[in-house]
Amino acid sequence: MKGILKLAASAIVLMATQASAEDLRVAVYTSSEPHLKLLNQLADKFKASHPDVNVRFETIPVADYTQKLSFQVAGGKAPDVAWMMEDAAPAFIEANILMDLTPVLQAFPDYDLADFTDPAMALWRKGDQVYGVPFSTSPFLIYYNKAMFDKAGLEDPKQLAEKGEWTMAKFQDVSKKLVAANPGKYAFEFKDGEGYASRMTHALLPPIRAYGGDLWEDGKCGMDSPAAVKAVQQIHDMVFKDKTIVPPGTQGDYFSGNSAMTVNQISRASKMAEAGFEWGVAPLPTGPNGEEGPVIGQAGFVVFDASPNKELAAELVAQMTDKEGVAALAQFFPPARRSVLSSDAFLNKNQYLSPQMMGFVADGIEKGRVVAAHEKVPQILAAMKPRVDALWRPDADVAKSLQGVCAAIQPLL
């Protein structure tokens, strides 16, 4: 009997302690083991100062991340903290469901909010309020398969970039030679092989910016501008005339050695470790007048206003994005803090990328502009999709197709 009472008593104590411990749920879209290990290390640091707090990272697959997150919000089950992609941020900020982090960040010891670069913060600020802290400000880079360049006897993009010859024209020229020397393979694959579907804007944006244009700017569609038409015409020719870019409806995975180049960010470097071929990264090719048009993808930490522990959650975000936190995350997620960007640790001690490659990354962050964002991105993409499909026909009139794209999305901008 005594034994039973004891057991019951200890059970009650256990339940009481469980109830007093705070659970912080952090939604992320990575399932990469090294990424999660790093995040848990940062959370452990937070737990050291908050022993009764549990931090749990919940992976939502990236393909429908924003959508599932939105459902959690609508269902009243929003996580406390979440990663948020640049294209989703405006809609969430406009819906007034994110917490203003300014007071917590300013009160956090040695945080130094001004250390974040202004372009990197633009997306997350509304007036004086800060609704998110970017942890990844990641420029698009060219990844290349060194062996395929060697086989064609070509200088690789990194060498060309060093000589200042890595231009859009050279990109086209090199691509033809690559395909000639590597039959059955392609010279270039769009980002993650999704350039004709979910990443259609990521396929179009780098060349358009290199030629001095943009997808849209200040509420005006820019895809029918002369610069954009020239850029897309070149890519279109490469797909259908030169046959050097993986065409629509065909798979040509860079990571399994079927394409010589692709565009991606440094978080993918962890995937290259298992690729089984010699590889490198280089900046995006420059435009006809030598303009650099780097493109930056961004993601930030946000805290949901509805969280019962939002103060605590904001503190966790502050801890993960203070100077030490950002320096640790910089292994995979390029920082937006000036102090970390110029640090020796960031530039010289990356596990996967050489100091020179990291130089390209830092350069890209400094000069780059975040990919075009908008409150209505899902609607814009859906309106664009059929027009962009029409653009990717072999016999398409590029200028006319791009006018069609602009006509479809202008009302939404």
Binding site: V73, G184, A197, P247, Q251, Q379, K385
Partner: protein, 308 residues
């Protein structure tokens, strides 16, 4: 025996309200309550909710909702040109899929209804796609149907045919999703037909054969009419299924190219779960419900006319 009798009468004296009839009723309700609760919570509840959603403009993220009456329906039927395109696509999909599926199912069932060596193996082969994951099915077909270097186009090239870029040309994409869907689902209807064929007494065939009827005559004049009720069920179910097709489209074409395979269920998903316009999506779902109901009623009444 006496014991139990006296026990029962004693219980009745103490608790007269618990008559046998009541006890049966309580037990009955207890037995059906799990299903009933499930039905109320997961079926009737959402069904009612969807009518309420359809009459509101609901910002999913901020949680703000306003009553807008029938505006969502007006928007779909009168203002939005996409809606009619989507409806047309759904109709094309159904008109392509239903006859093909039913004809193929009947053909397979006739071939596989009589026992012969290996019949089980063949039935299993044709039924296996039904239980295969829809996503895996679509991914494999996407690979097979690649424009350049896809296995199907390579095979066509061997006999001198240049295959199209199946999933990137609107008309071919529609044909490709229809055919791959038929191959996936035909096994189910085949099983229904096999069951119906086996229920037809063989005496009829034999008698007709003795009277000198050809096999085609036996099929056309005896088997086919006797399969009528099964055909009706199959056509109704397949039509409903074809209007509800989503996963297949989502994975294979994403509604593209050029909206060529944007069908109703996928469009509802897009409005509701990508644009978070739950009110509009609910209105569309109700419209879809009405369309499917009307089609079903037409089929049933046609069948009645046939019988009469």
């Amino acid at each position: 025996m006496t014991n139990s009798l006296s026990h029962r009468s004693g219980a009745q004296a103490r608790a007269p309200w618990l008559t046998l009839q009541r006890r049966d009723a309580i037990e009955g309700w207890l037995f059906v309550s799990p299903t009933l609760l499930g039905f109320l919570i997961f079926f009737l509840g959402p069904l009612i909710a969807i009518f309420i959603y359809a009459m509101s403009d609901w910002n999913f993220l901020s949680g703000e909702a306003t009553f807008v009456g029938l505006a969502n329906f007006e928007d779909a039927l009168l203002a939005n040109p996409d809606f009619w395109l989507v409806l047309r696509n759904s109709a094309v999909f159904a008109l392509g899929l239903v006859p093909l599926n039913v004809a193929l199912a009947l053909f397979l069932a006739v071939a596989l209804s009589r026992p012969f060596r290996g019949v089980i193996v063949f039935r299993t082969i044709f039924f296996a796609p039904v239980i295969t994951s829809a996503i895996a099915w679509a991914i494999v077909w996407k690979f097979l149907l690649q424009g350049e270097g896809g296995p199907i186009n390579q095979m066509l090239a061997m006999i001198g045919i240049t295959g199209p870029n199946w999933l990137r040309e609107p008309n071919w994409a529609m044909a490709a999703v229809i055919v791959t869907r038929v191959i996936k689902m035909v096994g189910l209807n085949m099983i229904l037909y096999i069951a119906a064929l086996q229920a037809i007494p063989r005496d009829y065939d034999e008698a007709a054969g003795l009277e000198g009827a050809s096999r085609w005559q036996i099929f056309r004049l005896i088997t086919w009419p006797l399969l009528g009720p099964t055909t009706l069920v199959i056509v109704i179910l397949t039509t409903i299924g074809s209007f509800k097709v989503f996963d297949h489209i989502y994975q294979m074409t994403g509604g593209g190219p050029e909206n060529g395979t944007l069908v109703l269920a996928f469009y509802i998903y897009q409005q509701g779960f990508q644009f978070f316009d739950i009110g509009y999506a609910s209105a569309l779902a109700i419209i879809m419900f009405v369309i499917v109901t009307i089609l079903t009623l037409i089929q049933v009444s046609l069948r009645r006319k046939d019988d009469a």
